[in-house]
Each structure stands twice: as C-alpha cells, then as structure tokens.
Symmetry: C2
Subunit: 350 residues, 2 copies
C-alpha cells in the first residue's frame, strides 16, 4: 500500500536540550544506546549535542563521540547546537548535517545567555555562514556529489562531503522570563536579519514555555511575512501544558517540523517551574492520530524510554501515552480514513 | 471598560467526576469549602453531585447537603448527574438547575455501566423528560416567574420554581475501552434519539480519554448535522495529554461550554492509566490567553487548590500552571489585543 499521508518531521532533541537541562551527565555509552533506540523506532532527525565549553556544560563534553556514533547511520540527519564561531568550527569538523545557532529575540535573555546583544548574535551568525561556505569550498571537487547550490548562491558542503544546513534558532520568541513580552517588531526584525545573514532555516523556540495558541498563529504569520518559507520549524516546551495545543495551531499554519524530547526530558535544576520539551511520544501519538506520517513506530518509541530509565535512575520521566498506553484498536490514520478508528457498521439503534 | 470578549462557560465537575473517580470520600464540609472557593474565583457552573445508590458510590452519599449549599449562591448554576428516573426525581427535589443523564454510545460500555442498552437508556431519558415536565406542571402558577417555554413546547420548572435543563451526556463518544471504535453512525443515531427524547442540551464526553484532535472536529460536525445547536458542551479527559488540543479544535468548531476538574482530580483507582478531566486551571489559562472571557480569576482559582490539599492529603494533584505559575506580565487578552502580552515599541535592531 503506498503511503500518501503528509510527512511531518519530528526531531528528537532530548540528547541535547533534555540532557543539557538536567544536572546529571549521561554517560556516552547510554547516549549511543539512546540514538540506537530512537533510530530503531524510526526517528531520522536528532539533535544530539551542543558545542559549548565543557566547563559550562559537562553534559555535552562528549559531543564528538556522540556525533560520530550518530553518523554511523547513513540516513540519519544529525544536528548540533552551537553558540559561536568556535562551536560551528567544531561542529563542521565533527561532520554534522545541521547546525543550529540560537539567536534570542529578547535582548535581556541574549545578554544573560551568550553575553551578546541580538544584533551581535546576528553578526556571529553571519560569520558562521561564511565559515560553512568556506569549508564547503575547501572540501572542493571530491565532495561535489554532496554539494548543493541554494537559491542564495551558497554551496554548502561539510568537511565530510555532505550538505550542511545553518539554522537560526530564534529563542524566547513567545515570551521571556527576564524581559517579559517581546515586541512583535523585534521578532520580525531579527528573523529578517537572520535570513539576510544566510539562514537556511528559521526555527522559532518557546524557550520559556510561555507560548499560547492564538499567539503562536500570529507569530508564525508575522515571521512568514518577514522571511517566507525559510520559517520551517517550531520548538515548544510544555511548561504550561500547551505544547500540543500550540503544535496543533502550528500545523494549521503550515509548519511540518517540530522538536521534541523523549519522556519530556528536561526541566531545569535551577528553575523549579521549568519543564522539558514537548514529549516525543505524545507528539507522535497526536500526529499519528491526525493522519500525519512521522515514520516513527510508537510502540518502539515507548520502549526506548527504558534507556533513560537505565541511564538516569530516579530522574522524572514524563509522558501521558507512556502511562495510559495506546487506545484499543489504535492505528495511525491513513490518508482517507480521517480517523484513528475503524468506522464499521452501526451496531445499535437499528 | 466594557468587556466585549466572547464568553466561554467552564463547568467545574471535579466535585462529581473527580471525587467519584477516587477511592476516598471527601467530607461534606470540604465539599462546601470547595464550592465556596470555586465561587470566589468566579466559577458560576458546577456539577456538584450524582444521585446514585450510596452503596455503589459512597463518595456521593451527601448529594442533598452539597446541592443545598451550592444553591445558597443565587447566580450559581448547579448540576447533578443522574443515571435513572429515581435519580432524576431526587435531583429535582434537591432543586438543581441542570440534570445530566449519561447515555453511552457504546453498547458494551452502556451495559457494563448502567445495565441498559443505549436504546433502553434513551427510553429512560424520555421518562426523565416527562418527569421534569410534570414536576413543572405540579409547580404550578406560583412558579410561573421561573417558567420558560422551549421551542419543543416543554415548560421546565423545578420544584423550587426555577427552570431545569435536561442534558444528554453522550459518553464513550470518542472511543470505548471495552468496545474500541464506536461507529460514527451509532453516535449520530443516539444523538438524534436523545434530542427527539427531549434533551435541552447534547454534551459529548470523552469518557475514556481517547479523543484526538481531527476526530473531535469530525464528530462535532457529525453530531451538529444530526441535532443542530442542541450540541453545546464538551467533556474531555486528559488521559493522553490531548485534552487542551481537543478543546482547541472544539473551540474552532464553535463549542463554548467545557467541563473541567480542579487539579485534574480524578483518575480511577481500578484503572492505573485513567486520568481525570481536563485541568480547570490549565483550561482557563488557555482560554484567557486566547482572549475568551471565562469570568474566572486564575490567581484565586490556583489558590482554591488548597482545599483539595487539605481535604485529600496525599492525593495527587495535577496541573501545569500550578507548577509553573503565570508567565511574567500575563494578563487575560482583551478583544483587540489578540495576544496576552503588550506589544510595546521595538527595542533592538533599530
């Protein structure tokens, strides 16, 4: 049976955002097992590490080893987060496919997080763009099979010969715990500046878990007006229980790429109210039920939580589906059914 | 400032559905305190009891006393759930404003829950309709101030002189743990039968927490095609984390009445996966953020959880908002802002 369902990309970011947000460090071997289990469940996009000083984030000190393992899967898109040019250099050398650079739209958050204003981060982002392009030139003719010319004329080839995408991860887009409201004009201006600085993709992040449904729709349209379809991905936290409702609105506004963390791993040891990303299992369940194709097997995905339980005993693991299980007779909805359930003949009142 | 925001009715059902679903019995005095606290927070619709044999549900044995207390508030709409004619008689005598009769669209669930087929429940429902109408006739001229003629010719006046609404609470509409899928044709047929039997309101209940967003939209349209605007209210459980996403879809399909439980109280001692209704605080937060007027003060609503903590020590209380708190600068969105946050002048990149 050919599958004509619409594709939605779910990127597992628990290995980066989740692990970065808890106090303990997951041993490298467990990170490898997590990647294996996620891959076995059908996950084909993972953000597996960030390149930041090990003193600041010892959880991410094994970024090279983790990325090397992820790259053993030919069809796995491997992403790393980098805050600066040095991180971008390391990510390129490690051979990732995608580099995400966080750019806070809140000046207060940007200064606190990376000691740069948003404008300074845009400059740093432009420098990353140049670095990636020059790395592509250096890779030369032997990498030409993997090279790709973009509309903007960039040729992006990583040091291992594959195309590298640069993603501007706009953070605190939906509110900032330091600044409070972030003016819409700022969001649009920074999105436009990031696109002009060479972003292949603009992603919007609800860093502080303050996004609400109506606002999500408004901001997607605002940013799309500014940068068109370079806006491609959404990153929600589930701090106030609206992660899936916000995702639903984003779907209605045409977004087809979402970040999520297995077991909602995350939270922040220093901020009791903070919580992790949208739970991968619950997100995939919702998408499946709506007839979207994620390529992810829910039963295997649920089983992969065992890696976290083994690696991080005592760490809270979240998730509704893990607790309640799949509904009886649940199956991913096909393109024509429009429902997760068989509509068989009427049995009563006839 | 006049408030032109659109109204959404949130009915607190924790005193009935929540308390009925946990093993312990809340002392009557705490139920009174809960009603007081909910009222103080602005809640004006509460389902406070069910009339079922005390042997089956000792948690509800004090229904008369609880309803008597609720009725001390002049502008509080007081609802009771009743499974049969005897319960309807008791509810009328107690003086409630609304009677909800559950009618399962799943034959398997209906037989297990009330030992009647759905068709037999429709007959019982029609008998309740007659009872309410004859009680209204008995109430006679002295109650004429409270009488109201409906389009169907029914005159509904309770024994205390006020109008009584009869609600058909269709249950297991979105799936049944016993039967699995419930055919759409059954749902439509039973909704139509309930309307013909005299339902003032059709409410749809996700008894088993299996509802998913696309399905919610489909079933709302299906039932609306069958019964028009008699379909008025939705009752979600949050078993698989989709309660608010489902609510969002229902809002988009014109529904403006929702049931919810403070602290998501509920779950079922005999079914580990079952969970309570959609959390009242989180629901009101979402509605506020989207510019709807619930009349409920979130800070006071959050404070009212203390009654549950006092009354049911050790009982798990759920809720994202209770954990994370309101976002900085959050305020209910007005009709023109379209956002919960002030959009002040741009501060950066200019």
């Amino acid at each position: 049976m050919s599958d004509t369902r619409e594709r939605v990309v779910v990127t597992e970011v628990g290995m980066r955002d989740g692990l970065q947000s808890i106090a303990r460090t997951m041993p490298t071997e467990f990170k490898r097992r997590w990647i294996d289990a996620a891959y076995a469940a059908g996950v084909r996009h993972m953000e597996v590490a960030s390149f930041v000083p090990a003193k600041l984030l010892p959880q991410m000190a094994d970024a090279d080893a983790v990325i090397a393992h992820a790259l053993t899967y030919d069809d796995l898109t491997v992403t790393a987060l980098v805050p600066n040019l040095k991180g971008a250099q390391r990510a390129l050398e490690a051979g990732v496919h995608r580099i995400v650079a966080p750019i806070s739209v809140s000046a207060a958050h940007s200064l606190a997080n990376v000691r740069k204003t948003p404008a300074e981060m845009i400059d740093a982002f432009a420098a990353m763009r140049e670095l990636i392009d020059s790395a592509a030139s250096d890779a030369g003719a032997d990498a030409s099979a993997g090279a790709a010319a973009t509309a903007s004329g960039h040729v992006r080839v990583g040091t291992r010969g594959h195309r590298v995408e640069l993603i501007a991860g706009l953070s605190t887009v939906f509110g900032c715990t330091l600044q409070g409201a972030v003016p819409y004009a700022d969001i649009a201006a920074i999105a436009r500046a990031a696109a002009q600085a060479g972003a292949d993709v603009i992603a919007l992040g609800d860093t502080t878990g303050e996004a609400t449904p109506r606002q999500v729709g408004e901001i997607i349209e605002l940013v799309r007006d500014a940068v068109g379809n370079t806006l491609r991905s959404l990153h929600f936290h589930d701090t106030r229980g609206l992660g899936l409702a916000n995702t639903l609105i984003a779907l209605q506004h045409g977004i087809r790429e979402f970040d999520a963390s297995l077991a909602g791993l995350g939270g922040c040891p220093h901020a009791p109210g903070a919580t992790g990303n949208v739970n991968t299992e619950d997100l995939v369940f919702m998408l499946d039920s709506m007839g979207y194709d994620t390529g992810i097997d829910l039963t295997r995905l649920l089983a992969s939580r065992a890696v976290l339980a083994d690696a991080l005993p005592g760490e809270p693991l979240y998730g509704y589906l893990a607790r309640a299980g799949l509904p009886k007779q649940f199956a991913a909805a096909g393109p024509s059914s429009g429902s997760s359930f068989d509509s068989t003949e009427s049995q009563v009142l006839q």
